[in-house]
């Protein structure tokens, strides 16, 4: 430190916080105690330190007494540290020469006896730490004025459009051949029953048309470097074998292609060609060739029908995958969800009986663009009775503890659609609790009850084709306790619809690793704060929206998407970001260049560089450093220390704490 011992002038400010602190801690005694501590120039107490007059008091002392350290003994630093840092700054003192001593949350509120003694200990510790505080400069770096949106479902689409409308460049990356996501597979949307495609496809078109959006479908982000404001993402563009710039989407190639495969879009209920667009309104309306099924690839050179018939010559079998790098200031992760595979739950007979289907499969059956043209048929006939089983894998410790939040509502929607399409069909809802919490949801529930849907409260134990009576012959029987009566029921039906849990993407872990995000216990990507930071993540500049963060319906997804857009805009429109000041520093004279820091840092902040030196030394990229201190502890020579949390500072605090008896 430049200044000698006596140059350190510490001011201690004890807050009464009304009676919150003063009620338990003897503030006068505490102040007197502080006054006697070394290097303390002044110690005062006041009713509310955070109030205007309280702040003025501190400013005044800094100016008049030339304080160069300030200790505020009050509430938690998580509460008012920013406030008092500002105060110091206004008083002409470096904001980092402030130390907050938490004598409310961690003292006066949790102790009766010994509160004052503890407060003393905490204050003396704060003072000795403050002694070693050093001024820090927080630096600013410019922000790349573009946003990367990962995932082209409804969340990604909405976020991209909003950012683009604000005049910012957007890169929208989608893994599949077309954007649209799960929502494109859905028939109607609850509770308004408007057609999913009708509300979605215009948005998809808008994305394609938007001058500020660069759309990359059939592509995946494979690498991310950099830090908030300055990310560089590497995107792998899989070969389409069709030239996007030439193709007009006339569809002749699909028409002529003789080779078929199961349609992923129709959940395997229908077929598609080897060259295909997943669905008619696909965006971009450019097909892809699936080498798994294209005979040109399988038996080299045979066929090539598409090649022959494409007038534009857009077919290009020699395409190879391309890597593209983009520079963005912020990233929105909207990678969506997977539907749980209910065959895991053997007793429900999913993969065993063809007329036991999942909710998504039913959406396709119901959908006019679906494999049956919107006619609900299984085993070649219209079911006259349908059982809908809720909470399949949701609210179940053996699979997923959480509630998937949408099933109750779409189950009601299904009931409506079935009754609408099949004259006199009976529908049974097997539920545990009906959760219709959203706007217009409860009304929809009532309406369905009115339509003569049967509600059976109970979790079915089995779906079997084992008939125990005449009426059960040739039917599926759902076995379940009617818990409201307390008797076991056997309900024979023609079709069973399972409502499987929405679960985190199978590759959620890889995505988390790729973008340096955390996952919550349920596997979904984790937001920074459940309430106040719903779309921000632990990684500055990265945001997670939609079902990637947890199960939710379309309205909630869109709301999050727009929140994500707002967050990214707020970030890049600022033009620059302030970097965390309490970062790691390397004492080059001590560094032995072992590289331990480089290995251990998950943010890749430290790097070994030996320009001209015999042994390389570590240097910290402060833009990347989060100041977690993992490297400092790992450093075998103690060359690395964390600003504002130096060993000296913490040990000083520790020593002082031990000084005052319990």
């Amino acid at each position: 430190m430049a200044e000698g011992k006596n140059d350190v002038k510490i001011g201690v400010y004890v807050c009464h916080c009304g009676s919150n602190i003063a009620g338990t801690v003897d503030v006068e005694e505490l102040t007197a105690f502080a006054q006697e501590l070394g290097s303390v120039a002044v110690a005062r107490n006041y009713k509310f330190m955070c109030s205007e007059p309280g702040q003025a008091l501190i400013k005044q002392d800094i100016e008049e007494l030339g304080l160069n350290r300030v200790v505020v003994a009050a509430c938690s630093p998580r509460m008012h540290e920013p406030t008092f840092r500002r105060v110091c700054e206004q008083g002409g003192l470096n904001p980092y020469q402030l130390h907050i001593c938490n004598i409310r949350e961690q003292c006066s509120w949790v102790h009766k006896d010994g509160a004052t003694e503890k407060a003393k200990a905490l204050v003396s510790a704060a003072v000795s730490r403050a002694y070693y505080l050093e001024p820090l400069e927080s630096r600013e770096v410019p922000v790349a004025p573009a946003v990367l949106v990962v995932g082209g479902g409804i969340a990604g689409i909405q976020a991209a459009l909003k950012v683009a409308d604000a005049g910012r460049k957007v890169y929208l990356v989608e893994r599949e051949p077309s954007i649209g996501g799960h929502m494109t597979q859905i028939d109607k949307t609850f509770p308004t029953l408007d057609c999913s495609a009708c509300i979605l496809t215009p948005r998809m078109a808008a994305v394609k048309a938007h001058p500020n959006i660069e759309l990359m479908t059939y592509s995946e982000v494979v690498g991310v470097q950099g830090y908030v404001g300055n990310f560089r993402a590497t995107i792998r563009r899989k070969p389409r074998y069709v030239d996007e710039s030439l193709c007009t989407g006339c569809g002749i190639c699909q028409e002529k292609c003789p080779w078929k495969a199961e349609s992923e879009f129709d959940c395997g209920l229908g077929q598609r060609k080897a060259i295909y667009t997943p669905f008619p309104q696909a965006v971009p309306n450019v097909p892809v060739i699936d080498p798994e099924h294209c005979v040109y690839f399988l038996r080299d050179g045979k066929c090539g029908a598409c090649l022959k018939f494409c007038e534009r010559g857009a077919i290009d079998f020699n395409q190879t995958e391309k890597m593209v790098d983009v520079e963005v200031g912020a990233i929105i992760v909207a990678t969506g969800y997977d539907l749980m595979d209910p065959s895991e739950i053997g007793r429900l007979g999913y993969s065993r009986f063809p007329n036991v289907i999942t909710s998504l499969e039913f959406e396709r059956l119901c959908n006019a663009t679906g494999p049956t043209g919107g006619h609900i048929v299984v085993n070649g006939q219209e079911p006259k009775s349908v059982a809908i089983i809720h909470c399949v894998g949701s609210r179940d410790r053996k699979y997923h503890e959480y509630c998937s939040r949408v099933c109750c509502m779409y189950a009601l929607k299904f009931a409506h659609l079935i009754k609408e399409k099949i004259e006199g069909a009976s529908v049974y809802q097997f539920y545990i609790d009906m959760r219709c919490y959203g706007k217009g949801f409860e009304e929809f529930y009532q309406r369905e009850a009115g339509e003569g849907v049967t509600f059976i409260r109970g979790k079915p134990s089995q779906v079997t084709d084992f008939a125990m009576s005449e009426e059960e012959q040739g039917k599926l029987v759902v076995v379940c306790e009617n818990t409201l009566v307390g008797r076991t029921l056997r309900v024979p039906v023609d079709m069973v619809i399972l409502c499987p849990a929405m679960e985190a993407r199978a590759d959620a872990r890889d995505v988390a690793r790729l973008f340096n995000l955390t996952q919550s216990a349920d596997g979904f990507l984790q937001e920074r704060h459940a309430k106040l930071e719903p779309v921000a993540t632990a990684n500055d500049g990265m945001f997670v929206v939609g079902c990637a963060q947890g199960p939710k319906d379309i309205p909630d997804t869109v709301a999050q998407a727009l929140a994500g857009a707002a967050e990214t805009l707020a970030l890049i429109d600022r033009g620059s970001v302030e970097l965390q000041a309490a970062t790691a520093t390397v004492d080059e004279t001590l560094c032995q260049g072992c590289g331990r820091c480089e290995e251990i840092c998950v943010f890749h902040a430290p790097t070994l560089s030996s320009d001209g030196r015999l042994i390389p030394v570590s240097s910290i990229n402060e833009a990347l450093c989060k100041g977690c201190g993992v490297c400092a502890v790992a450093c075998p020579t103690g060359a690395i220390s964390i600003r504002h949390f130096t060993r000296q500072q913490i040990l000083a605090e520790l020593e002082a704490l031990s000084g005052v008896p319990v």
Binding site: R78, C628, L651, L654
Partner: protein, 140 residues
């Protein structure tokens, strides 16, 4: 033990455990005043030196608290802390200190009650254990 009051220092990470201690406060959940909290940014920041020095300085117990595994604000700092604590324990053992004297707990920001419980429990444990051998030396 005739009225022995153990001295405990707790190193808590800023994001979870320190917040938990604050929550205990805002929810007015009382716990023994034997504990002194030092705030660090991450449990991965806690240098073994601190722990050793704490015992040297006569603390009877040291509590290291961080976010639950998977919740670390810095992705994996708490895992580092876990590894180090294991190593540290062996060292303390050779110094003749009981394992219980060094405690590692994951306490999330939501677990105010949990924090208080941990402290109560720990104080009880240490009372059973009696003063740290090193403390006797320190005071002697």
């Amino acid at each position: 033990m005739n009225g022995f009051e153990p001295k405990i220092v707790a190193f808590t990470c800023n994001w979870c455990s320190y917040a938990a201690a604050d929550l205990a406060g805002t929810s007015r959940i009382h716990y023994p005043s034997n504990v002194r909290i030092i705030r660090v940014m991450c449990s991965g920041m806690i240098d073994p030196i601190y722990v050793l020095r704490a015992f040297e300085a006569g603390f009877d117990g040291v509590l290291l608290a961080g976010c639950h595994i998977g919740d670390c604000h810095y992705i994996s700092g708490n895992m580092r802390a876990e590894e180090r604590t294991a190593k540290l324990r062996r060292l303390l053992h050779t110094l003749g200190l009981e394992d219980e004297r060094l405690k590692l707990e994951w306490i999330s920001a939501a677990e105010g009650g949990g924090f208080a419980e941990t402290i109560k429990e720990y104080v009880g444990q240490l009372k059973q254990l009696g003063p740290s051998p090193l403390r006797k030396e320190a005071t002697a």
